[in-house]
Symmetry: C2
Subunit: 205 residues, 2 copies
């Protein structure tokens, strides 16, 4: 089973690496990082580069797509190499998934028309412009499309995906392996939970 | 404020990237990935490389250390370049932190003697050999040492660290930004919660 994570300039590292570190433990899965060209791809924060081991053009099919988001996903050019590749590759996938604003890339590729989907809380309006119905859940499954909310939701999505690809016991085993027993020190991880003061602080960051 | 994440062959990507994607949003912080030599460093799963932008030898001081774990941390050679560097750099840090088996590197460097600390649940015995007292908590603060439990605990540690470096409101703002409102689809993220069947499945992965 081949799982491809396509990278692009100014992606969010955790969007890609959260699912990566879950899915690499799935028996029989080969995870491949790909980009327009093989080589290092710089993230949105600019202090990190992940190496793409393959060029998109060299990948004509895969079983699972995991599309990360990031600043570069919000304004990805309509004629960029990724969108055509997503359209073509999606036709043959078993599951096409996204994390955070990765759903905007799926939308820009025309794959979310008439579908329910989620994205980062700050980008729900842009999601709607692609004909998708925003659903305020952490992981949304619609047919073979699975979209996740912002950044860290990729972990919850990837465990859901493992249960679909293998079974719940395998997902639980991987959850134990990565000790995913979250205990955030604060309770501000959603718009509904964050205080007005925390939202105001975020605007200044 | 300079935050350094030292990489080594066979590190666990999420151990590094979880804290990275929290700490890069901290105002005034410069996050640097470093390794024995600058360039790509391959992770433990082998399907990913992160680029180290600096060589350890070029970094003589930093404010915060974030040491990831991974398969390469469990058997890191006693005369490898990282341990001496950790010992020297730790002297000047404000906070020295680890994720998962990164604490074994701190231990091998002699920095945990007589301290309370945590690590991945499967490596508590090795932690004790370095003179540390294992504490079964997700994030353990002892003086300027902060250790986190396995892999995904780096997110909880990093938010704790932001509150210490800046304030709670900044940590909450970053938590909202990365939408860290975890909703794991299963409840198997610790030894106490995972079923015997899930633990058995993990042994077969």
């Amino acid at each position: 089973m081949r799982i491809v994570i396509p990278l692009f300039e100014r992606f969010t590292a955790l969007d890609a690496v959260g699912p990566y570190d879950v899915l690499t433990h799935l028996p029989g899965a080969e995870v491949v990082l790909a980009a327009a060209e093989a080589g290092p791809v710089r993230d949105g924060a600019g202090r990190l580069a992940l190496t793409a081991d393959a060029a998109l053009a060299d990948i004509t099919a895969c079983d699972v797509l995991v599309v990360p988001g990031g600043p570069g996903a919000r304004d990805y050019p309509a004629d960029g190499p990724l969108l055509d590749w997503l359209r073509r590759t999606h036709e043959g996938t078993r599951w096409t998934t996204s994390v955070c604003t990765g759903s905007l890339l799926l939308g820009a590729a025309g794959l979310l028309t008439g579908r329910t989907a989620t994205t980062h809380w700050a980008r729900t309006g842009q999601l709607a412009t692609y004909g998708a119905t925003y659903t305020p859940e952490r992981v949304v499954v619609d047919g073979k499309l699975i979209t996740a909310a912002g950044v860290s939701a990729g972990l919850d999505m990837a465990l859901t995906l493992v249960a679909l690809l293998a079974d719940q016991l395998t997902a639980e085993a991987i959850q134990l392996l990565i000790e995913y027993d979250p205990q955030p020190p604060f309770d501000a991880g959603s718009l509904a939970k964050a205080s007005p003061a925390a939202r105001e602080r975020l605007r200044t960051l």
